[in-house]
């Protein structure tokens, strides 16, 4: 094996739901990050840790059941595993003691490919509690691999794991455990001799795989036409799987002993209710309701603190900075702008935290089970419910999570419609507009404002379904759709770990949006500061009244297009700037109203409320407000989302279609709504 300079990289591999992320989290206490790296678009985690003065990098790959991929996730996993062999030292394979049999399939496939590997059996205590005893030494002998034990939840075995990695205890198998079936034996050996490849299993995988494992083309010249015609890759895979399991059964019978019956009591009891044809749905709806209620009410206190903090900061800046435009920019533009986003951190955080906990506990799989039947008529898969629900926090991780949807068309539709779900970036806009136009009345204990917000959430969901329906007819069907999904045992979610993930994402959101707002505050301020020249010897006029600035000119420029929607030039500027990111609207409005000396005093919302047109009418009338709500509900106003859509679909056509389709829909909907209500 070629040793490269930087060969302290190891891969974490295993079935989904075996506790890989727990092990990963414990191993890499030093630095972790999620997302892209090293030119490979893997939405997984990479982290580092230091042991005996050396630095090790751990890459946590998506979970998989077999080397033959059925979804994008699994394809990425297999490709990385095979293509990057020069770059990593070995694979740490994680098995859960309760599902050893299933986990050994992929283990043996990787071992047979000659990849250095180390086996970790996790949660042995769970097995022992059920009367199952595993002979680890025997397992090690049978499989010819170093076996370690961990109890990740109790942080046991991790230091030993680091030690073994340090000692490079990976074994590279010289033999292949899989016996090539008789029908293909001749062919495999023929190719073996002609290509000088030493590993028969590698040849087999070329014949048995359809796409990602290296193509049939590389060996096709060694085969004659009849042989190629007879080959049905899927059948070869099935044969392999069945044979491997037979062997695995043999290994397990030697190594595992158990008392006859064990029952997964907790999971059984919970599922009776959670998957019930009536109560299951009621409970799901209730859980959603609880989440949204918490988001809006629990978050209220921290939101007020944050709001007050920024208001205070703003007046501090106003007092202590020297008079002039910079003072205004910072005190009235940048600070309130960023404050306008930071104030939503509690809401986003609470929502995300709930979603992580639900996923972690295993409940989301039941939700998928319940929703599959209802999503299918729209061209979606039960698995689409996860991106749709998490899209209420942010579409970006939601779209990345579509990688577990096997069918290409279902995945594409899910990616294209997820942005219709009401994401947290829309909340600042909705909040302000609803605050402006909805009266303070109550209906059966719930405020009109809360109802209005709920209505916006329903609107987003409704539109995502309608759009799916349309796309279902428009996109060509390719390949089979299927569900076949593991239903993991319920487990206590990792509250601390999930909290860490949540805080990380919230921080990312704020700093990401914060950077954009900071930039735009400056840009807007600049264009509001200069205007067309008023005197002969100028290029541009400076320190002009807002009404005479270039900014106003731009806004007025698009006014004819947006007047039928009920917007004035200030809103026009707001919409233009929000095409980068929705939440920029609030920052823009803040800046605009702060710069306008003729605008009324006070908080931004009061300024907007009291702003009147020359004829005395309110600028933010009911009709205009509703129009803005609809516009923001449907328009694609997020550069980051577009970037992710492009990356995931690898298609300019669909990315542009999404941009134009959503924006066009937004324009028409706002137009109709304004004309109806004015």
């Amino acid at each position: 094996m070629q040793q490269t300079e930087n060969n302290k990289q190891i891969l974490l591999v295993g079935n989904p739901n075996v506790g890989k992320s727990t092990v990963f989290n414990l191993l890499c206490n030093k630095k972790q990050k999620t997302g892209n790296y090293a030119g490979v678009t893997v939405a997984s985690h990479s982290g580092k840790y230091v042991f005996k003065d050396e630095e090790f990098e751990v890459i946590d790959l998506p979970g998989s059941y077999s080397i033959y991929p059925t979804s994008e996730d699994e394809a990425i996993f297999s490709k990385f595993l095979i293509d990057e062999q020069q770059n990593y030292a070995g694979v740490v394979y994680i098995l859960e003691a309760l599902s050893i049999k299933r986990g050994l399939l992929l283990f043996q496939q990787i071992q047979d490919l000659g990849i250095p590997i180390l086996l970790v059996v996790n949660q042995i205590d769970q097995a022992e509690r059920r009367g199952i005893n595993i002979d680890l030494e025997g397992l090690s002998k049978e499989l010819n691999v170093r076996v370690l034990q961990t109890n990740a939840k109790q942080n046991q075995g991790i230091e030993e794991l680091r030690d073994e990695i340090f000692k490079n205890s990976f074994t590279k198998s010289e033999t292949v455990s899989f016996e090539i079936p008789l029908e293909q034996k001749g062919l495999v050996f023929k190719i073996l001799t002609e290509t000088k490849e030493k590993n028969q299993y590698k040849i087999w995988t070329l014949l048995a795989s359809e796409t990602y494992l290296g193509k049939l083309e590389t060996v096709k010249d060694q085969m004659n036409d009849d042989e190629v015609k007879c080959l049905v890759p899927k059948r070869l895979q099935t044969q392999e799987t069945i044979r491997r399991y037979q062997k695995i059964d043999g290994v397990i019978s030697k190594v595992l002993s158990k008392k006859p019956q064990f029952k997964e009591l907790l999971t059984e009891k919970l599922d009776k209710v959670l998957v019930h044809p009536f109560w299951g749905y009621v409970i799901f709806a209730t859980i959603l309701l609880i989440i949204f209620q918490s988001v809006f009410f629990l978050a209220e206190y921290p939101m007020n603190w944050i709001s007050d903090f920024f208001l205070g900061l703003s007046s501090l800046a106003n007092e202590h900075l020297p008079e002039g435009p910079i003072n205004s920019l910072i005190a009235n533009g940048i600070i309130p702008g960023i404050g306008g986003i930071a104030v939503f951190a509690p809401q986003i955080g609470i929502l995300l935290y709930f979603l992580y906990l639900l996923e972690d506990s295993g409940y989301m799989a039941r939700v998928i089970f319940l929703m599959d039947r209802f999503l299918r008529p729209f061209g979606l898969n039960g698995k689409s419910i996860v991106p749709l629900v998490s899209g209420t926090a942010c579409a970006i991780p939601a779209i990345m999570s579509t990688r577990n949807i096997e069918n290409v068309k279902e995945r594409l539709i899910t990616i294209l419609v997820t942005p219709f779900m009401t994401c947290s970036a829309r909340l600042p806009v909705y909040s302000i507009i609803i605050g402006l136009i909805i009266p303070n009345k109550y209906f059966g204990g719930i405020s009109y404002k809360a109802l209005a917000l709920m209505a916006m959430y329903f609107l987003g969901f409704f539109m995502s379904l309608m759009a799916s329906l349309v796309l279902k007819k428009v996109i060509k069907s390719k390949g089979k759709s299927f569900l076949v999904m593991d239903l993991p045992s319920y487990k206590m979610p990792l509250f601390g770990y999930d909290l860490k993930l949540t805080l990380g994402k919230v921080w990312e959101f704020i700093t990401g949006a914060g950077k954009i707002i900071f930039l735009f505050s400056i840009v807007i301020w600049f264009f509001s500061y200069i205007g067309p020249k008023q005197k002969e010897d100028e290029i541009v006029a400076t320190n002009v009244k807002l009404e005479q600035s270039y900014l106003a000119k731009m806004g007025r420029g698009i006014e004819p297009a947006i007047a039928p929607l009920g917007y004035d030039w200030k809103m026009g500027v707001g919409i233009l700037t929000s095409f980068v990111a929705r939440e920029v609207f609030v920052g823009t409005m803040s800046t605009l109203y702060s710069l306008d000396e003729e605008a009324p005093e006070g908080k931004i919302i009061d300024k907007m409320r009291n702003d009147t047109k020359p004829n005395g009418e309110k600028v933010f009338s009911f009709a205009t407000g509703i129009s803005i709500l609809f516009f923001y509900a449907f328009a694609m106003q997020c550069v980051s989302t577009l970037a992710v859509v492009y990356r995931e679909t690898k298609s300019w056509k669909w990315t542009m279609a999404q941009l134009c389709g959503m924006s066009g829909l937004a324009y028409i909907a706002s137009l109709i709504v304004y004309q109806l209500f004015k």
Binding site: Y65, S66, Y68, T70, L98, S99, I100, K101, R102, L105, K234, Q237, T238, T241, I242, Y245, F262, E264, T267, D271, V275, P277, A365, I368, F369, L370, D372, R373, F374, G382, K480, F482, L483, V484, M485, D486, L487, P488, S489
Partner: protein, 55 residues
Amino acid sequence: MPNKIIEMGLLPETVFKILYQAPFKGPLYIEFGDEKSRIALREEEARFIIVESLT
């Protein structure tokens, strides 16, 4: 036939039990094998499994 069914361990000669089905002919929730694995699969996927009842 979805290979995934076999990859997840639902092999020929395996004993399994249907625990639940989602309403309106939704997916089936089945439990199988020594390890009591649990999977969800749609009716049309389940049709590929030839069944011998054990009573």
